[in-house]
Amino acid sequence: MSRRVVITGMGVVAPNGEDLDSFWSACKEGRSGIAEIQAFDCGSFSVSAAGEVPKYNARPYLPSPKQLKIMGNNIRFAVGASHMAMEHGGLLGADYDPERFGVTVGSGLVPTDVEELGDAIAHSLDDDGKFDVSRFGVEGQRRLYPLWLLKHLPNMVAAHVSIIHNAQGPNNTIVTACSASTQAIGEAYRVVERGQADLMLTGGADSRIDPLSIVAYSLLGALSQGDRAAEKLSRPFDRDRDGFVLGEGAAMFTIESEEHAKARGAEILAEIVGYGSSFDASGVTAPHAEGRGAAQAIARALDDAKMSPEDIDYISAHGTSTVLNDRMETLATKTIFGDHAKKVPMSSIKSMVGHLIAAAGALEAAVSVMAIRENVVPPTINLEEPDPDCDLDYVPNTAREHEVRAVLSNSFGFGGQNASLILKEYAG
């Protein structure tokens, strides 16, 4: 008999709010966190806006400032979000069994810190200005900070979080791009369900707001190149959408077995009842046109939850604001939900925070829990003129009071890896 799994704490670091309350308020008010990039000057490059969390300070959550030297932005966000989740769950300093406490996060490539590399590169060039490996070996390499590699290993997010909170149980890092944190939460759910741990810190953290990521995504045609105001660029399901806007941040959850939560008298925020994952192959960067894999992930999550589409009251969409995704996602939703599709509100907070890649699904799961808690669904902002191919109820521009007992939260990866979660109002 598999165990029931509940959510008891949440911590969020988002472009439109650096804690859960301010993030959720911003989402309900339709407030965007997307602005011109502050971290560096993009010059005349065609993309210069993002959902940044500028100058995030993780120091209050660390025993010593020394550790900051080996923490990239994604790790700092995760450290902050984890602390807040533990605090929210009443677990900070609590007497839990570390051996039954694990960590599973979605993370990804940590961008190269170019300022850090600049000096090493400058000393590694031959007379024609080309990179010369032997010069790098002799001159360049020693200009690197000796522990710099540690900033670039994706598993260091989970490693730091486990060290700070003494989590000695199962520890995993999923790196499937846009679906990474939805899969991480799904995997953590499975770990608790089968009894390998009683308590997990899970979610995702990412930061791709760096020159190379922006240039590369931009060349792939994935980023919005529009010349609107920054906060108007991310417009999922709108006819004039032209790509996503990069965001950064983290969302972390404490999830535990129902039994464990009850035994310590924790407040249960919601229950995780379904998880599904799938793959559809159709090239490396384009989703399957009809959303075969997306539909399969949704169907598997429903099946896992033993629920039917009519049981779902709100869909937290992947809704990236790219032409391809939003159309595909609409089709996949119709495939599974049939006539019911038009009756279920489905919104995308990426309109307000941008696309946090490996952290996106975790932020969307946080919104899903809050929708259940408050019976409010957040809007898709900037939805001014719907695309005729996107004809569902996307909660345009204004949050809505709506009775929410169960939520489907979707993430569809760039490479065809898809994942869906179902969260439900807890009833003992």
């Binding site: 560096f40 000057d41 993009c42 010059g43 005349s44 490059f45 080996i70 960590v103 990804g108 490539l109 190269t112 590399l117 600049g118 590169i121 400058a122 590694s124 200005g129 080309k130 990179f131 490996v133 032997s134 790098f136 070996g137 002799v138 390499q141 690197l144 710099w148 590699l149 540690l150 670039h152 290993l153 994706p154 598993n155 490693a159 060290i163 909170h165 989590a167 000695q168 149980g169 520890n171 995993n172 890092t173 790196v175 499937t176 791009a177 499975r190 791709r208 020159p211 240039v215 995504y217 060349l219 994952s277 799938s278 793959f279 490396v284 399969q296 598997r300 990866g413 490479g415 890896q417």
Partner: protein, 425 residues
């Protein structure tokens, strides 16, 4: 409902010794080292100039498209399609919706030559012009280099090749990832999320930045003049690991599914343990408390006694810290030499394949169970007082009545994974 059992029905691998399980298995039994001076690029001047490279690189069908296939994705593809063919499933027999892919996979950290023109244009002493950097990058960055997202590429290439539409993910729990993917795939099949999973790992980090990065951490052997002798797990004169690369994929299949199609069953996966040190980002716990607990968890999941384990395929990296920590942890469970089962590390021959290590080592475990022989730890010459178990030094050994073998992988950052395989009867 009775518990679903998980068996191994296909194997595929590629390492510095070559492509194919038999090529690798024969090489391992003969104690062949794949470590050489680096051939992929000129490493003159670098502190570490040796590695265990796959050379030459195998061609994959994607090379004919515009994609540039990352090395990890290339190795995953080769190991995946070979394992798939080996299982007989390439000829049908599985519902694509019930076939998943779980891989541990990683890649190098940054491609310096690619970034150089932009870095050079933007860098001034004490200043960095991001606008110039981005503009130059956009002009010099080759679009087909889809480096930025490519961790997941290994999982997508394998799934696309065999039309696996089931659960699909890639994890990167550092050096434990390949074994981790096997453990999670095992649990997913038991749970019923899939009937067949292509599980294992693929990795390449043989590049300048990774060599420099691990080098400055003091993790790599700099025995550049004796490449074959550089990787020497448990030997007193070990001085770091040697970077290897490659991939290993095992076809894990639900027992009844395998029987129904008359599959050739090689072994059963029966145990899995997963813990974290929660100690330090830079070092393992010196006594391996949580490594020990991963082994105990796996024993308990397998419902066997420690005395049932006939062989341990060690993580055995050839670093001072890992090998003594691992020995201490094994001894606390299995007792001293004489009492504890033989232990060996094929990293002495293949180098350290990082996220792929646990997967190729699992293949060695399966072959050991099938053949009743275990591979040696080569270069074992000098006893270390803190490494005092039977490491099967230098020569393969017949162990005819093996019924259970244990596979250990410990990740940089503190992730500890143990799996247990059983002889299938």
């Amino acid at each position: 409902m009775s518990t679903r059992r998980v068996v191994v029905t296909g194997l595929g691998m590629i390492t510095s010794l070559g492509r194919g399980v038999e090529r690798n298995w024969t090489g391992m039994l003969e104690g062949e080292s794949g470590v050489r001076r680096i051939r992929r690029f000129d490493s003159t001047g670098m502190e570490v100039r040796i590695a265990s490279e796959v050379y030459p690189l195998p061609h994959v069908p994607q090379d004919d498209d515009t994609d540039q296939v990352g090395l990890h994705a290339r190795f995953a593809y080769i190991a995946g399609v070979d394992a798939w063919a080996d299982s007989g499933l390439a000829d049908g027999g599985a519902d694509p919706d019930r076939v998943g892919v779980f891989l541990g996979s990683g890649k190098g950290v940054a491609d310096l030559p690619m970034l150089t023109p932009a870095l050079k244009a933007a860098h001034q002493p004490g200043d960095f012009d991001y606008g110039v950097y981005m503009k130059t990058l956009a002009e010099t960055y080759a679009l087909e280099r889809r480096e930025l997202e490519c961790y997941y590429q290994s999982g997508t290439y394998v799934a696309a090749a065999v039309d696996a539409r089931g659960p699909n993910w890639v994890c990167i729990t550092a050096c434990a990832a390949g074994n981790h993917a096997l453990g999670e795939a095992f649990e997913a099949i038991v749970h019923g999320d899939a009937d067949v999973i292509l599980a294992g790992g693929a990795h390449s980090q043989i590049d300048h930045m990774s060599l420099a990065g691990y080098g400055t951490l003091g993790a790599l052997s700099d025995r550049n003049d004796e490449p074959h002798r550089a990787s020497r797990p448990f030997d007193r004169k070990r001085n770091g690991f040697v970077l290897g690369e490659g991939g290993g994929v095992l076809i894990l299949e639900e027992l009844e599914h395998a029987k129904a199609r008359g599959a050739d069953i090689r072994a059963e996966l029966v145990g899995y343990g997963n813990t974290a040190d929660a100690h330090r980002a830079t070092d393992p716990h010196p006594e391996g408390i949580c490594a020990e607990r991963a082994m105990r968890q796996a024993l308990s999941r397998a419902r066997i006694d420690r005395s049932d384990v006939g062989y341990i395929n060690a993580h055995g990296t050839s670093t001072a810290q890992n090998d003594s920590m691992e020995t201490a942890a094994m001894k606390r469970i299995f007792g001293p030499k004489g009492e504890a089962p033989p232990v060996s590390s094929v990293k002495s021959m293949l180098g350290h394949l990082i996220a792929a290590a646990g997967a190729v080592e699992a293949i060695a475990c399966v072959r050991a169970l099938q053949e009743g022989v275990v591979p040696p730890t080569i270069n074992y010459e000098n006893e270390d007082p803190v490494c005092d178990l039977d490491y099967v030094p230098n020569t393969a050994r017949d162990l005819k009545d093996l019924s259970y073998v244990m596979n250990n992988s410990f990740g940089f950052g503190g992730q500890n994974i143990t799996t247990i395989f059983k002889k299938f009867e």
